[in-house]
């Protein structure tokens, strides 16, 4: 199996741990991530203004290039997934916009590439049962809270990813790698990422509410699919600790890192040193290193 892969900018810089682990796990599970040649930034925001065609040009160009190399495009980053998938839906359904965009990017793209997230490959192509059979390290029912954020799920009629109010794919994944998924009410809330520059205090509050809820529900770690969520609830813990005395802190681990761990990949390949709150003491304690 081979999947055309769009890493996105963050995965080449801050989120190398998400990317490296994702590629390594793919190999271990017997599928290939073939990087799209000549890709650009996805734009990182799906435009809210209806006539903002300019913002749609980068994702449209990415999709048009993907069409030249395959029929489906995979991402790991939730934000890229959201922007590219929504652009694709728009091009597919809106003839007028499609023509405008095509004229603008000087390419001809009809919206016929399938945009899929890595988690969907794990669920549908590889299968969680196959993953169960490929486990090399026992994560011993480590209590992990899955944080979906907003980008994977909303707007649900365009994303068609999972139930927007009570998604389960992340929990199923955690179950497959022998972690105990921790249910907590904030799992589909906004992490505040878009405010982390302009109004960091807002973002800190969001992160605090999310982490506090996960901790209260007994989580030892939180897992994410999104570099923005990751940054916000991981790096923001410094500010939280300053503001809220006694905040215990909790490691935030990318889902590909957890998967890599369970598949028995060498720990150095999983780049845990890049996580701001170091997960290694927890893993050490559980005898996983």
């Amino acid at each position: 199996m081979e999947f055309l892969y769009f890493p996105g900018c963050t995965l080449y810089t801050k989120a190398q741990n998400l990317d490296e682990a994702g590629r390594a796990c793919a190999k271990a599970l017997g599928f290939e991530l073939k990087e799209l040649s000549n890709w650009t930034c996805c734009g990182a925001t799906f435009p809210l203004a209806k006539d903002n065609i300019m913002a749609l040009a980068p994702p449209a160009r990415i999709l048009a290039r993907a069409k030249e190399e395959g029929s489906a495009l995979t991402t790991l980053c939730s934000v890229c997934f959201n922007v590219i998938k929504r652009t694709n839906e728009l091009i597919k359904g809106d003839e007028e916009k499609r023509e405008k965009i095509n004229t603008f990017i000087e390419m001809d793209y009809q919206g016929d590439v399938q945009v899929i997230h890595y988690l969907e490959i794990l669920k549908r192509e590889v299968g969680f049962d196959t993953i169960k059979g490929a486990l090399k390290r026992d994560l011993q029912e480590m209590r992990v809270a899955p944080f979906y954020g907003c980008m994977l799920l909303r707007p649900s009629e365009e994303m068609e990813f999972d139930d927007k109010e009570a998604p389960t794919i992340f929990e199923e994944f955690l179950g497959a790698i022998n972690c105990e998924p921790v249910d907590f009410p904030y799992k589909i809330e906004c992490c505040g990422a878009f405010q982390s520059v302009g109004a960091p205090e807002v973002a800190t509050e969001c992160a605090y509410a999310i982490l506090n809820s996960a901790i209260r529900n007994g989580a030892e770690a939180v897992t994410t699919t999104c570099p923005l969520c990751q940054f916000n609830i991981d790096n923001m813990q410094r500010e939280i600790r300053q503001k809220y005395n006694g905040f215990p802190g909790i490691p935030i681990i990318y889902f590909t890192q957890l998967l890599g761990l369970a598949l028995g990949l060498p720990v150095e390949k999983l780049e845990f040193h890049r996580n701001d709150v170091d997960p290694r003491p927890l893993l050490e304690k559980r005898g996983l290193l």
């Binding site: 139930d163 927007k164 109010e165 009570a166 009410p185 809820s213 209260r216």
Partner: protein, 659 residues
């Protein structure tokens, strides 16, 4: 016909604004067989009709054409006028020069005038070959079927029985009472639901004209107004009700429990249960899904303990045939299932309940004996959040309509909460508060002021379990602030939806339902309690969300409509039905298959097809389908219709040549 009168209506400016009525009148006066032609501003008015009366008398007319609006508006009016002068009503025809001419040709007076003349000419052609027909009289079964034993069905049944007609009341639950049986006190006067329902139930039980058929469903309906043949299925109760004395021992001893629908899942019921709650007056039925004997034969306790030997595990269903003249559909409502509402926890948070469950808590006969307690731990709640418009008025995701009862019952529930638990605090999230009936606004204001209810205008975004509290995230749009509340309990006023299976019932009755499943009325203002299918009447929430007051009024309206139908000696029916020329019919039977009213049947002896005139609605399906042209419609025979078309075509050619 040699002496025809033509009467041209102006309809104010509706016709006269576009058609030159004077010119048309002059033109028709010249037409063959026309001995009288005149126009008037409103032909349907008294002076207008007088013109027709006078012309018939003075000129001895033997045929009348009224050129006016659509025949669906005033054909009956003018036929009655003609009849009162001693003519056969079927020698009066309508030439529609409003909907089919003036309204569609505004701004083109010349051609509209010419077309109006052609329409009248073609109707004259038809009229010449009309037969004088006699109104058909059909036998009328003066017995009504009422489907649904809630307050709507109960009211309609009592009203009909009181005026001397027999009623069959079919209810699919083990006993009658419907949703009202689940309620506590009712707005706006806080009457106890039982004080409304109890005497009515007693009246039903004691009225010899009413036959109650509990635990039954309508399986099939054939026939037409005046004579419906109904097949009713009596589901197996597994209890011989003739022997059962409703002593209740079986209910006590049955070892199987499952969540009670009636108590909205707040408590359990046994596998053998009664519909009539704690009063225990009802006779029980066995739930075949949970009963151990019926599932795998491992238990016979109820049979062993029954002192009367009334348990019948082998009881089958029974089918009963009844003939009735009219049917009332009073099938009631359900609440939109909480399990479908993700943002409020998909029905998985124990202390989030719906309005009916809260009613059960308030009811002295309910599972908590009238005490308000949290389902999760039985504690008395302090902070209770009520959310209105849950799945109502939400066209994007749920139901677009207003459920009409929630504003009032939420105010009532919050008030009763405060009265029962004085140190509690109700919070009510609302979009608008709609109090549109007598005494409702006063009730609401009184409740807000006396009980210090807190009303917050805004919707709730999310509800989730947080420790042992239910956290509510909402918005107060009047202060523009986010609201976060830790509630002990949340009550959702979920949307009123038609009860399950309504679409099947509608299909069986050939009644129509809207896209939400509410039964549609023939006309929202002119015929609000009649279904478009004649003989079918609508009452209660099956037709649309409404409160008890409106339901009772509507039920009485259906009863009075049926009373006036039944007050006739026989059913009069339009004779404009299909007939068969026995010389031509080859007996192929195609007409039998196409007839939507089961009005066509093969005459096995003669080998040709025949028409049941009582059932025929004159739709024309068989006429179009007949390969030999053996079927015809009275006064719309092929020769007449083709005659009209030819006349019209000649006129069109003429005007083309002119133009």
């Amino acid at each position: 016909m040699k002496k025809i009168g033509v009467f041209i209506c102006h309809c104010g400016i509706n016709i006269a604004g576009t058609v030159d009525v004077k010119a048309v009148s002059r033109e028709t006066g010249e037409m063959e067989d026309v001995v009288h032609s005149e126009d008037y501003i409103y032909m349907c008015s008294d002076p207008g009709q007088l013109l027709i009366h006078n012309a018939i008398r003075e000129k001895g007319l033997d045929g009348v054409v009224v050129a006016c609006c659509s025949p669906t508006m005033h054909e009956a009016t003018f036929r009655k006028a003609v009849e009162s002068e001693g003519l056969n009503p079927y020698v009066c025809e309508i030439a529609n020069i409003r909907e089919q001419c003036s309204w569609v040709h505004q701004g083109d007076k010349e051609r509209a005038t010419s077309k109006a003349g052609e329409i009248i000419r073609s109707v004259l052609e038809k009229l010449r070959q009309n037969e004088a027909l006699e109104t058909l009289t059909m036998p009328l079964t003066k017995r009504a079927l009422v489907i649904g034993g809630g307050i709507a069905g109960i009211t309609a049944s009592i009203d009909l029985a009181d005026s001397g007609y027999e009623v069959i009341l079919v209810e699919r639950q083990p006993s009658i009472g419907g949703r009202l049986d689940q309620l506590s006190l009712t707005f706006p006067h806080l009457d106890d639901a039982r004080c409304i329902l109890g005497p009515k139930k007693a009246e039903i039980a004691n009225n010899p004209k009413i036959r109650v058929m509990p635990y039954c469903e309508v399986e099939e309906v054939k026939g037409f107004i005046g004579n419906f043949d109904v097949r009713i299925r009596r589901k197996p109760t597994y209890v011989d009700w003739d022997k059962c004395t409703a002593c209740g021992v079986c209910l006590e001893k049955c070892p199987v429990e499952s969540l009670s629908d009636f108590e909205r899942g707040l408590t359990t019921r046994k596998a053998i249960y009664t519909g009539a709650l704690s009063e225990n007056s009802g006779k029980p039925v066995i739930d075949p899904i949970h009963c151990r004997h019926l599932v795998d034969g491992t238990c016979t306790i109820c049979q062993e303990v029954c002192p009367e030997g009334a348990i019948r595990y082998d009881q089958g269903e029974e089918l009963l045939e009844e003939r009735v003249g009219a049917i009332v559909v009073a099938t009631g409502y359900d609440l939109f299932p909480m399990e479908k509402i993700g943002e409020y926890g998909y029905g998985r948070i124990p202390d989030v309940i719906d309005g009916l469950a809260f009613e059960r808590m308030l009811s002295p006969s309910g599972p908590t004996g009238g005490e308000i307690r949290r389902p999760s731990d039985g504690r008395i709640p302090r902070e209770v959040v009520f959310i209105q418009c849950v799945a109502s008025r939400d066209p994007e995701r749920y139901m677009p309509y207003c459920s009409r009862v929630c504003c009032m019952y939420t105010a009532k529930q919050a008030k009763l909460l405060k009265q029962k638990i004085p140190n509690s605090q109700p919070y009510i999230f609302f979009m608008d508060v709609r109090t549109d009936s007598k005494g409702y606004e006063e009730f609401l204001q009184g409740a807000i002021e006396e009980e210090e209810l807190i009303y917050l205008r805004g919707r709730v975004a999310r509800v989730f379990q947080e420790g042992d509290k239910v956290r509510v995230w909402g918005e107060d749009t009047l202060t523009n602030r986010k609201v976060e509340l830790d509630a002990d309990m949340v009550v959702l006023a979920t949307a009123v939806v038609p009860s399950e299976g309504i679409k099947d019932i509608a299909a069986r009755l050939r009644a129509t339902a809207d896209k939400h499943g509410f039964l549609t009325e023939a006309h929202i203002k002119l015929y609000p309690v009649e279904s478009p299918t004649k003989g079918i009447f609508l009452a209660g929430c099956g037709q649309g969300p409404k409160d008890i007051t409106d339901t009772v009024a509507q039920a009485s309206a259906t009863a009075s409509k049926i009373q006036s139908l039944f007050s006739q000696d026989a059913l009069l029916q339009d004779p404009l039905v299909a007939f068969v020329d026995p010389e031509i019919c080859s007996g192929c039977g195609i007409c039998v298959q196409v007839c939507p009213y089961e009005a066509r049947e093969m005459d096995e002896y003669r080998g040709i097809s025949k028409v049941h005139e009582a059932l025929c609605q004159g739709c024309g399906a068989c006429i179009a389908a007949c390969p030999n042209n053996a079927c015809e419609l009275r006064n719309s025979k092929a020769v007449q219709v083709f005659g009209m078309m030819e006349t019209f075509a000649e006129g069109a050619e003429g005007s083309l040549a002119d133009g």
